[in-house]
């Protein structure tokens, strides 16, 4: 099995706080790996380091066999990142925004057209792509951003709370899209505090709290290990174990 991402003893310290305290995990090709934990657990900081936006204090990140501390530029060409509170340029239309993003990745016009067309298929915004982003609803904007993140068919897509703030219908639509993308060869690393979403989406997962991975495995494996009916119970039992 090809390893798309390998994270080893990743640490991030700010002046007074240690947000991530030596986490390790890997993401294999064609799987959805989820980092699950409450707000402030260190999920977003870990994802930002993997997305090469933040520099780790220590530890190693390897993407497609490339060391992120040395080959960040090359890695970014094969990876995409969707932040939790992402937005698009409000003065551009949806299509202009996608064209701008495609232009960053491809010099070839045909490649760019293909990427924009694929994004159109994913987001399903149709004629609304001609409208300015500032006129979009939250759900439409999130679909546009999600399609931007996968339009280049990255080897690894990093998504921080991809359905955060969306209503049920939009959230379900986005989850289905993510599942479809995996079948097309995109590996996904996502974070969420929504245990139900993780149960539905992820192949494997790691439960993180206070900057530490408490346990990892498949959803079924973790539920069985802790004799829990759902992931929320797994999380509670892990916390009780840590407190004891």
């Amino acid at each position: 099995m090809i390893q798309v991402l390998k994270v080893e003893n990743l640490v991030k310290k700010y002046k007074k706080t240690e947000a991530v305290k030596g986490i390790s995990f890997e993401v294999n090709e064609g799987e959805i790996f989820a980092l699950v934990g409450p707000n402030g657990a260190g999920k977003s900081t870990a994802l930002k380091m993997i997305a090469t936006i933040l520099t780790p204090t220590s530890g190693k990140i390897t993407v497609l066999g490339l060391d992120a501390s040395e080959k960040a530029g090359e890695i970014r060409q094969h990876m995409s990142y969707l932040p939790e509170e992402a937005g698009a340029y409000k003065n551009l239309t949806g299509r202009q925004y996608l064209e701008f993003m495609a232009e960053v990745f491809y010099a070839d016009k045909i490649e760019r057209k293909k990427a924009v067309a694929f994004a159109g298929e994913i987001n399903g915004l149709g004629e609304r792509l001609k409208d300015k982003v500032q006129t979009y609803s939250k759900g439409m904007a999130r679909k546009l951003l999600l399609s931007r993140a996968v339009m280049t068919k990255p080897r690894l897509a990093i998504m921080d709370e991809p359905t955060s703030g969306l209503d049920v219908l939009n959230a379900v639509e986005i989850r289905n899209t993510l599942r479809k993308l995996v079948s097309e060869g995109v590996s996904i690393l996502l974070s969420s505090h929504n245990m139900l979403e993780i149960e539905y989406l992820s192949d494997r997962m790691a439960i993180i709290n206070k900057g530490v991975i408490m346990d990892s495995g498949t959803v079924a494996g973790l539920k069985s290990k802790y004799s829990a009916a759902n992931l929320e119970e797994v999380f509670v039992k892990l916390n009780e174990k840590a407190a004891a």
Partner: protein, 427 residues
């Protein structure tokens, strides 16, 4: 390079919002309209002769001839047998700017070669450009009266003598010497012309810096506010390209804005101040100034251009870094206002005084501000102080390099996301 232009195109598209374009179209038009109104008002007030009320309490042969003397420049209304207050009421009603009261016994005193005081009331009917042009009416009226009386007295007391000679036995023929060169021109004209040139350049620079600062700070802060910054940083783009694409787009937009505003401002000034110099007189003055060496050579203009460029780069980089400190447009003023103060201080001091005449602490403090050197460069060019210009350029280049290093370092480090000032924090 391709990705730089992709980013640059995106920055330009982001700047071309109706909120940015509309003022660019409307302001010059507004300036032009106001200027034309002011010019028309000024023209009207210059064309019409103002009224003047002459209250004659002497009613002598001499005092009765005074209206004729005043007719050269005024529309006199001759009154007798009234009090000052009653005559003032007439002046207010007739909107005459001056009431001249000739006292009783006037002719006797003048003929006896004794000075006499005439009461002069200046009447302000409204406060406007038009009334400002009438402020010299009282002095002009008294001058006409005095000239008439001088001519009258000379013809009576010294028949056959030239009255003009007695009034001004010596006339002026002006020359000005500057930097070892001499030209047939008055100092007032030289200083006036140089001032008009040296004031214009700081105004342009000041406007460019203000526009550029506002453009770049809004570009950075809107990236943060619209949550597009993290996505941008995760793209396969060199972070220096992000910095320079923002700098270039802001610089070009500010130059365009300044150019458009200056066109409007120029037409406004031509109207409001009547500052337009006719091409023939301007040409004559320019010729004498060239003889005096008080013009800026092409080499001088290239030094000036380089200094302006370095100032704009410094301003853009400083504001770019300041913009990273805040994450919403509400907090922008908190970081921009102190910066504006640093720009305004040397600008004001250069336009109203000579920095080199200030105390050493204040002087060196001002020279520590990189923009000061651009504000003073035209003065230094005209007075031949090239060593100050070279020093200024060197200093500005060092500051620009330091700012570039700081901005690129911040953009390539975690500081770009973690650098923050919480201005909204409650005490």
């Amino acid at each position: 390079m391709r990705k730089f232009f992709v980013l640059f195109k995106k920055e330009v598209r982001e700047l071309l919002t109706p909120a940015m374009i509309l003022p660019l179209i409307l302001m010059p038009v507004l300036f032009n309209v106001v200027g034309r109104i002011a010019l028309s008002e000024k023209g009207k007030s210059e064309a019409e002769r103002p009224g003047i009320i002459l209250l004659d309490l002497d009613e002598s042969k001499m005092s009765k001839e005074l209206p004729r003397a005043l007719e050269r420049e005024f529309e006199p209304v001759y009154l007798t047998g009234l009090t000052d207050e009653e005559a003032l009421e007439t002046a207010r009603r007739e909107e005459a700017p001056v009431l001249l009261v000739i006292p009783s016994g006037f002719e006797k005193k003048i003929k006896g070669l004794n000075q006499e005081a005439a009461r002069v009331y200046s009447v302000i009917n409204n406060v406007s450009v038009k009334s400002a042009t009438k402020s010299s009416s009282a002095a002009r009226a008294l001058n006409l009266v005095n000239n008439y009386l001088k001519e009258n007295l000379v013809s009576v007391k010294f028949p056959g003598l030239n009255a003009d000679f007695l009034k001004n036995p010596v006339t002026r023929d002006d020359y000005t010497s500057m930097g070892g060169k001499t030209a047939h021109i008055g100092m007032a004209q030289v200083i006036g012309f140089i001032t008009s040139q040296t004031i214009f350049i700081p105004i342009v620079l000041f406007m460019v810096i203000i526009f550029a600062s506002q453009t770049i700070v809004s570009s950075v802060v809107s990236e943060k506010e619209n949550k597009t910054f993290e996505t941008l940083l995760s793209l396969p783009i060199n972070r220096n390209s992000i910095v320079f694409a923002k700098l270039l787009s802001a610089a070009l937009f500010s130059l365009l804005s300044t150019w458009v505003y200056m066109i409007g401002f120029k037409s406004f000034m031509a109207g409001a101040a009547g500052a337009a110099v006719s091409s023939s007189s301007g040409g004559m003055i320019a010729g004498e100034l060239a003889a005096l060496g008080a013009t800026i050579s092409p080499y001088g203009y290239s030094l000036l251009g380089l200094s302006l460029f370095l100032s704009i780069i410094c301003a853009l980089l400083i504001v770019l870094v300041l913009g990273l400190l805040v994450d919403n447009t509400k907090s922008v003023q908190a970081v921009i206002t102190p910066f504006m103060m640093v720009v305004i201080l040397p600008y004001l001091l250069v336009t109203i005084s000579d920095i080199n005449s200030l105390g050493p602490v204040f002087r060196y403090g001002l020279y520590a501000i990189p923009f000061t050197h651009s504000f003073t460069v035209s003065q230094n060019l005209l007075s031949g102080k090239y060593e100050l210009i070279y020093f200024g350029l060197l200093y500005q280049a060092v500051i620009a390099l330091l700012c570039t290093a700081a901005a690129t370092k911040i953009f390539s480090s975690d500081a770009i996301l973690t650098l923050k000032f919480n201005f909204g924090k409650k005490l």
